[in-house]
């Protein structure tokens, strides 16, 4: 009996020792990340029968378990991914917001100063100093666009770098997890009854870290081996086999890097946006928000270049020549070819390019053109609407979006596709091509004056200029308009040789006429409006069109100055500053809502973390109390042994 008391005491002692060890382990690991507190589960030893009674024989530690709640852990994991995604988006959009607000403001100032300089020339058109100021401001404007574009390039590069780093981290984690799985499996093989708690903790910690980078799902099998899936169910760790994630250049756009899952025998592409976590956020930022903003800025650069170039072409410079482009032409071969991206997976050898015909109709969307064997089908990647461009071989295909798709050379194979970005590179390649201030076309070419004897409410105005030099050559001209009989209007054109045309009908309220008339090529267009009646066949309304070129003529540059407040973008509704303001507000609003999303995600994560910690976290006060508790148990158990010893001594001294 004493022996069993001795045993009971020892069992209590050993149990208390293990409890103290566990408590000590908990206390030492209070600051370990991902540590789940452990408890030694004590069980009473089964009773031994003695006579008709069962006498208990002490205690034993059945198992040292982790206090792990898998449900609250999974909740924490899910919220961790959301937080990772929200934080990445918040950080990147915040950066973009800062860049747009400051660089964007710089561009607005440059535009403003450019037009101020233009107005200076309007006041004093022959002053060479004022003209060269215009060119200086133009250069400032172009370099602002180039700088903004470079900022975007930097951001893209840094996001790509981030993606690469995260992919590397994920691969490392994957290898680690497989190793741990292997160790756990081996430990199970050796039929150890206990749980390898610290290994499990380490594995969970790795999964938590992974959860920051992507969405994670785990499945544990009977042997304790955990299969880890990322994103929408892509297996990353298949038991003891790790797969890694690598990054490769995108196709056709190499800067839009893509992820690949690398297995032992094969690789598979992964769609980055569905991954969730910070990777998902990075892909969403790069492929959606940054791309959209780039496209808008490119379109603005293109609109400014095209508008001012067109303005130049309408007028004459100081030497009487037609104005040449002030900014890079928006349809240079380099720009046209850069707008079509050809994937390497295409079988055919078709080279294509895109020519812009009307900037006001251009959307900021990306298009895909696919050859289905007979026709080219063009799909808008944002709205997913398709247009059939027509059979191959026609050379140039017009689209309702202000651009043309042109086959340059070669032929496509069935199912070949091309990525079309109509605004690509416009900001990066914007440059001032004029060097001499005298080349600014301030003067208009021709002007209309009404005769002083005109009596009725009718007018003629110049509405379009095609070729100012040839228009000058056709001067002087005269248009006579007469209403005879009442309600019937006719006009005649008298050219610079004095020959008068036959009467041509004019129908109010307005009519556009190309001059010079056929068979000559039209150089400009006028519009008759109102009801110019004249008084009698001998006295029609007369309008004289004459050569207006002069050093003091500011007609064309006033028209150029007015483009600052004209709606150009988006179907002619937005001025340049409005376009820029809209782009900036959109980024600001995205950034602001990303901030709220991040704050919410942080609050949710904190809640989930707290819930997890409630079950699994170490509380030092609790452990301190436990220390006392188990210390007392140890003392009491050692007292049992000393009592058992005394009893033995008592028995021994009784039989001596």
């Amino acid at each position: 009996m004493t022996v069993s008391l001795y045993q009971t005491g020892v069992s209590g002692l050993l149990a208390a020792q293990q409890q103290l060890a566990t408590t000590g382990h908990n206390i030492s690991n209070v600051n370990t990340e991902g540590y789940t507190r452990q408890r030694a589960e004590q069980n009473a030893s089964p009773g031994l029968s003695s006579g008709s009674n069962y006498l208990g024989s002490g205690t034993y530690v059945q198992d040292i378990t982790r206090l792990y709640d898998q449900f609250s852990y999974k909740e924490q994991l899910l919220n961790q991914s959301n937080l990772g995604e929200a934080n990445t988006l918040n950080g990147s959009l915040n950066q973009l917001n800062d860049i747009m607000s400051f660089s964007g403001q710089a561009i607005m100032n440059s535009v403003s100063q450019f037009y101020q300089a233009v107005n200076g020339v309007a006041d004093n058109p022959s002053d060479l100093g004022l003209r060269s100021i215009v060119l200086n401001q133009a250069e400032g404007l172009a370099s602002d666009f180039v700088a903004l574009n470079q900022n975007f390039d930097e951001i893209e590069k840094s996001i790509n770098g981030e993606i690469e780093q995260v992919a590397r981290k994920i691969s490392e984690i994957s290898i680690e997890l497989a190793k741990i799985n292997k160790t756990i499996l081996q430990a199970k093989d050796l039929t150890q009854a206990g749980q390898p708690n610290d290994l499990l903790d380490k594995r969970d910690q790795l999964v938590t870290e992974l959860g920051q980078y992507t969405k994670v799902n785990t499945i544990e099998d009977g042997n304790g081996v955990m299969t880890v899936m990322i994103g929408q169910g892509t297996t990353l760790v298949a038991g003891i086999t790790p797969l890694t994630v690598s990054v490769e250049g995108g196709d056709p756009d190499p800067l839009q890097t893509q992820l690949r899952l690398v297995g032992p025998n094969s690789t598979v592409a992964i769609n980055g946006t569905t991954l969730g976590g910070s990777l998902g956020g990075a892909f969403e930022f790069r492929d959606e928000h940054l791309t959209e903003l780039r496209s808008e800025i490119n379109r603005l650069a293109m609109a400014i270049s095209a508008t001012l170039n067109n303005s130049q072409a309408d007028g004459l410079d100081l030497n009487g020549q037609q104005g040449t482009n002030i900014f890079t032409d928006i349809n240079t071969t380099q720009l046209q070819q850069g707008r079509v991206l050809t994937p390497s997976s295409n079988g055919g050898n078709l080279q294509a390019q895109v020519n812009i015909t009307d900037v006001s109709l251009l959307p900021t969307d990306e298009f895909t053109v696919r050859y289905d064997g007979t026709d080219y089908i063009m799909t808008n990647m944002t709205t997913n609407t398709s247009t059939n461009l027509g059979a191959s071989g026609s050379g140039t295909y017009a689209t309702p979006f202000g651009f043309e798709f042109i086959e340059t050379s070669g032929a496509p194979n069935n199912d070949d596709s091309f990525v079309v970005r109509p605004t690509e590179n416009s900001a990066a390649l914007m440059d001032v091509t004029l060097i001499d201030g005298a080349a600014i076309a301030a003067s208009s070419a021709v002007e209309i004056t009404s005769s002083d004897n005109n009596i009725s409410a009718g007018q003629i105005a110049i509405v379009d200029m095609f070729d100012p030099v040839n228009a000058q050559a056709a001067m002087p001209m005269r248009i006579d308009v007469l209403e005879d009989p009442v309600g019937t209007f006719n006009y005649t054109i008298t050219d610079n040789l004095g020959a008068t045309s036959a009467p041509i009908a004019y129908t109010p309220p307005s009519q556009k006429i190309d001059l010079p008339p056929l068979p000559a090529t039209a150089s400009f267009q006028i519009e008759i409006s109102g009801t110019p009646s004249g008084s009698a066949p001998n006295a029609p309304e007369q309008f004289f069109i004459g050569d207006a070129f002069g050093l003091g003529n500011n007609g064309n540059i006033v028209a150029m100055a007015k483009t600052q407040e004209q709606g150009i973008n988006n179907g002619g509704k937005e001025t340049f500053s409005q376009s820029l303001a809209i782009s900036t507000s959109v980024v600001g609003s995205k950034s602001s809502s990303a901030k709220f999303v991040a704050e919410t995600a942080e609050a949710l994560f904190t809640q989930a973390f707290n819930r997890n910690q409630e079950a699994s976290g170490v509380n030092l006060d609790e452990e301190a109390a436990n220390l006392l508790k188990f210390q007392q148990a140890y003392q009491a158990a050692s007292q049992i042994i000393s009592v058992a010893n005394i009893l033995f001594d008592t028995i021994l001294s009784a039989v001596r």
């Binding site: 107005n119 409630e614 301190a624 109390a625």
Partner: protein, 401 residues
């Protein structure tokens, strides 16, 4: 609810960092004085704010244009004022010269003074602005508009171009007046025709000769010049340049309106047989031509060969001088009207600027009272978090073991 030690520290450090970032943000706003630093601060109002700033920038552009336009129009107004004075002086001289008691030397000196006036007028018409460009040349600003010929006539070498500047979104103002309009196109006092007298024994003079109905006037079938010939005091024959008779009457009464082919002519005085004159189409008579006529009239001296015609010419030239004076005055008024438009626009823009500025300020500027209060609040909140952290960290059972 159980709280783990890690949870406690995590939560507290999170709170501290959040509060610090709050304080940081407040400092950013206070230092710049703006509530909206980037679009993120108020994405909804940012678009409106950008619109206000755009409007203010445009107004600045218009104010510059207004200043320039004002300068140029003022220069013109001053020029026309001087021209008015010169014409007044010339008219005085001309009236003085019509005094039968003057000696030929006096007339000669009056003619010299008239020539001075011509030179002054030429100077005004050839005025240059601060860059050395001629203000009355239209678009040909490097070409001198008026040059004096040896026979005292003046030729215009500029063109009719008018420059405009934009002074508001839909308002343009002209900033120059072309020399032809200002100095050449003075309406003919007589109407649409001028009379050249071949024989004038009675002293008749054409009062008025206009194209009354342009529809009936056909200068192709009956081309001018129209010759008026009085065979007797009541017998008048008008022939065109081809010799065709276009009007014939033998009941002519003095003061009667002679009408033919849409042309109406009124002659004052009692015609004598043999009186003959030609009507040439002339809608406008330039100021310099008028001045030349004055000088030429004076240079004829005190004993003209045809004193009756000399007297008729005097009346015609005097009428034309008045017409010229009126024209100059109206040109000056035109500059004045433009200056008024400019002045109105300046004050319109000032009003708009005020409204835009206050709109911008409402959105962008920081309400300092509120911001400082928020800053204080954030500060206090941070301090409280920091202090409570320090207090609670001391509470551990281990301190009591």
């Amino acid at each position: 609810m159980r709280v783990s030690t890690q949870q406690f520290y995590f939560q507290n450090s999170q709170q501290l960092s959040n509060k610090q970032s709050d304080v940081n943000d407040q400092i950013k706003y206070l230092a710049s004085g703006k509530r909206v630093l980037t679009a993120k601060d108020d994405a909804v109002s940012y678009g409106t704010l950008a619109g206000y700033k755009d409007g203010l920038a445009n107004i600045e552009k218009y104010q510059r244009n207004l200043t320039q336009a004002g300068n140029r129009n003022s220069l013109q107004e001053v020029s026309f004022a001087s021209a008015e004075d010169v014409m007044q002086q010339l008219k005085q001289l001309f009236i003085q010269a019509n005094n039968g008691t003057l000696s030929s030397d006096s007339i000669r000196s009056l003619a010299d003074l008239a020539e001075n006036n011509q030179a002054q007028m030429l100077d005004i018409a050839n005025a240059q602005d601060e860059s050395g460009h001629y203000i009355f040349s239209g678009y040909q600003i490097d070409v001198q508009p008026f040059s004096l010929q040896p026979d005292n006539s003046v030729v215009y070498q500029g063109d009719g171009g008018i420059r405009e500047l934009q002074i508001a979104k839909n308002v343009m103002v002209d900033i120059n007046q072309a020399g032809d309009d200002a100095f050449e196109e003075v309406p003919n006092n007589t109407g649409d025709f001028s009379a050249n007298y071949t024989t004038n024994t009675s002293g008749i003079s054409v009062n008025r000769a206009i194209i009354a109905s342009p529809g009936a006037y056909d200068n192709v079938t009956n081309p001018p010049d129209y010759n008026f010939n009085f065979t007797s005091a009541t017998d008048l024959t008008v022939t065109d340049s081809g010799g065709t008779v276009v009007f014939n009457t033998n009941t002519y009464t003095p003061g009667q309106t002679v009408a033919f082919n849409g042309v109406e002519v009124q002659i004052s005085g009692n015609p004598l047989p043999g009186d003959d004159f030609d009507l040439t189409p002339q809608e406008d008579i330039g100021i310099f031509d008028t001045i030349k006529n004055v000088i030429d009239w004076m240079n004829i001296g005190v004993s003209p060969t045809d004193p009756i015609q000399h007297g008729v010419d005097y009346e015609v030239i005097l009428g034309q001088l008045d017409e010229a004076l009126n024209h100059i005055t109206s040109r000056r008024a035109e500059s004045g009207i433009r200056l008024k438009l400019i002045e109105n626009q300046v004050s319109n823009h000032l009003d708009a600027e005020l409204y835009l500025s206050s709109g911008r300020s409402n959105i962008e500027d920081l309400d300092f009272a509120k911001a400082v209060a928020t800053f204080e609040q954030s500060q206090v909140s941070l301090q409280a978090a920091q202090q409570s952290f320090v207090q609670i960290k001391n509470l551990s059972l281990f301190n009591y073991l």
